[in-house]
């Protein structure tokens, strides 16, 4: 069990040794986002821009324009939120090779409260043309995703978390941008989840199996571009979909799945996520329970949707 941000710090520092075009930028949170690991090894390729996220993103676009591969990090709320239009205009519009790796996404930010809990970042990043949006499930996937992102040419938004998360993928996992992973096979319904909800979906599927319900689990590491084939196949084969994400149900994975299903294969759907509201102060595990972002919520939704199939 490690935090995805720790996996990021380690991988970014390793990439720094392999490719000297990689540079990193942070906005006074390098200890928390773990770009500090890179900064220590490559101080001349690290730019602490101070508490000035909009300028940081613009600077990264400039660095990319002269051939650097900038990794830009701060908390998700300030990366996607404060610098949204700089990301749109200076990064995505010109298709600049800037990697925005945001940590502290979602409600597991915990005690800092609603002002710091980004539950909209995936939605607003997903809405920007040219943007790739990635939300890894665990440390191994993060390591692989960061490597894939460094190799990919173009703007990417990666959303990471603050806390340690259960591991989902084995060591040496390969990440392919735009490809989902079927982790559990099943025929009665499919859990389509991202981020820390994927480990919860595995638990839920196991539990439902004991009740005679066969649940498939698909992890979506790339929210955009979405693996439409995998989603549609699950819809056709299981006839019921439950999505799960540590994000608002407005605009995130649930919405992305709904868009595909409603146009191409209308299917029973239930979205598990934050129900169009702001976060709160509290401990991360208490908040996950409070907002219904856990295996229990998925199990309940799974039972309910299977009963509706009849």
């Amino acid at each position: 069990m490690i935090a995805t941000r720790d996996a990021y710090g380690e991988t970014l520092a390793a990439l720094g040794a392999e490719n000297d075009r990689i540079v990193a930028l942070d906005a006074d949170l390098s200890g928390s986002t773990k770009t500090g690991v890179f900064a220590k090894k490559f101080p001349e390729r690290f730019f602490n821009m101070g508490i000035a996220e909009a300028n940081m993103v613009g600077t990264a676009a400039g660095l990319a324009a002269v051939g650097k591969i900038p990794f830009v990090s701060t908390f998700a709320i300030f990366a996607a939120g404060r610098a949204w239009e700089q990301i749109r205009q200076s990064v995505a519009y010109p298709k600049a090779n800037v990697k925005i790796v945001a940590t502290h996404g979602g409600v597991t930010v915990g005690e800092d409260g609603g002002s710091h809990q980004s539950v909209e970042d995936v939605a607003i990043m997903r809405a920007i043309p040219n943007m790739t949006v990635i939300v890894p499930a665990d440390g191994e996937e993060t390591k692989a995703a960061i490597r894939a992102v460094a190799d990919y040419k173009g703007p990417v938004y990666v959303r990471l978390g603050r806390n340690k998360v259960a591991s989902v993928f084995p060591e040496g996992h390969k990440f392919e941008i735009g490809k989902g992973n079927e982790l559990v096979s099943g025929t009665d319904l499919t859990f389509i989840t991202t981020g820390l909800m994927t480990a919860q979906a595995q638990i839920a599927a196991e539990k439902l199996k004991g009740e005679g319900i066969s649940a498939r689990v698909i992890h979506i590491g790339t929210i955009k571009p979405l693996d439409r084939e995998l989603v549609l196949k699950a819809a056709r084969e299981t006839g019921a979909i439950v999505t799960g994400e540590e994000h608002s149900v407005v605009g995130g994975l649930g919405s992305a799945v709904a868009e595909v299903l409603s146009e191409e294969c209308p299917t029973l759907l239930k979205r598990i996520g934050v129900l169009d509201r702001f976060g709160l102060s509290g401990k991360a595990d208490e908040l996950l329970k409070y907002f219904g972002l856990n295996a229990e919520a998925l199990i309940e939704a799974g039972r309910e949707i299977v009963s509706r199939k009849k």
Binding site: D28, I51, D112
Partner: protein, 294 residues
């Protein structure tokens, strides 16, 4: 109309007033000491929150609430109140202990800081906490809101004033300077910004992370009246606040040199204590320190 608890005392440096001033300062100093104790206890209980920046700002917040602001804790939404914006919202503990001391809510509430279901959120939230007028926590946004309030109050012909406390790292946000430009342009003389110049932010010294000096020159260049003080000298704080109030035709920035973690020597001047709370060993040390410090 309720009687404001804290009327605005004009402190004049005449011999007759000298004793009164000294007494007032001594009272505020003692109150600030007690508020520091409360901050330390609150953060020890919550085991989450920002110690250094709460302790550096508390003298200014204490002076505001117990000397300068017209406000009524029995009626938080009283129309005649002055407004306060804690732009460096992570210093919420400093604001909360002050509001509790003033009587906005019971002191017991402080023990629920940052807990699920508490009205005391990690960062100030006007939706739930009596006495909090704006939501802050994302740095750099407070001065704009404060200037908006100042413009609105002036438009209504009201004499109410608006005060904002900002961090020095926070000054790196471009929006702060957009707000400074706007307040200077509109000559918002009912607005007073207090800058907590403690020299530190999360990643280290402000001067090394991203230098913002000279803060005074920057505000002056946007047309502000600037007063430089020692942000832990109660006499200088109240004098500056009184001066700011009488200054017409421009907003005032009180640039206050402070010490992050002030009052607890083990926390002082350490960037590492920014978002760290006192542990079980540090609590008695901190309390002892606050008991014997003047």
């Amino acid at each position: 109309m309720p009687v404001p608890l804290c009327s605005m005392h004009k402190i004049e440096r005449t011999p007759r007033k000298e004793t009164f001033v000294k007494q007032k300062i001594a009272e505020l100093e003692e109150k600030a000491r007690r508020l520091r104790v409360s901050i330390v206890k609150t953060l020890h209980k919550s085991q989450s929150g920002h110690t250094g920046g709460s302790l550096s700002a508390i003298d200014m917040i204490c002076a505001l609430y117990f000397h300068k602001l017209r406000h009524n804790p029995a009626e938080p939404a009283w129309d005649g109140r002055d407004r306060f914006v804690l732009s460096k919202g992570h210093a919420a503990p400093a604001l909360y202990v002050t509001l509790a001391e003033a009587g906005y809510f019971p002191a017991e509430d402080l023990m629920m800081l940052r807990r699920l279901g508490s009205h005391l959120q990690g960062h100030p939230d006007s939706k739930g906490t009596p006495g909090v007028d704006v939501c802050t926590g994302s740095l750099g946004q407070g001065l704009s809101m404060a200037n908006g309030m100042a413009l609105g109050l002036r438009l209504d012909g009201k004499a109410n004033r608006v005060y904002a406390v900002l961090g020095d790292g926070e000054l790196q946000e471009g929006q702060v300077w957009e707000a400074a430009m706007a307040a200077g342009h509109y000559k918002s003389d009912n607005l007073c910004a207090m800058i907590d110049l403690n020299g530190l932010q999360i990643d280290g010294e402000v001067a090394k992370v991203m230098n913002v000096a000279s803060v005074s020159d920057k505000f002056r260049s946007f047309g502000w009246n600037v007063i430089e003080i020692d942000g832990h000298d109660m006499g200088q704080i109240i004098e500056a606040l009184d001066h700011a109030e009488s200054h017409k035709g421009a907003p005032t920035a009180i640039v206050a040199k402070t010490v992050k973690g002030k009052g607890v020597n083990i926390f002082e001047n350490k960037a590492s204590y920014h978002g760290v709370t006192p542990n079980d060993e540090e609590l008695p040390v901190a309390l002892k320190c606050l008991g014997c410090c003047d």
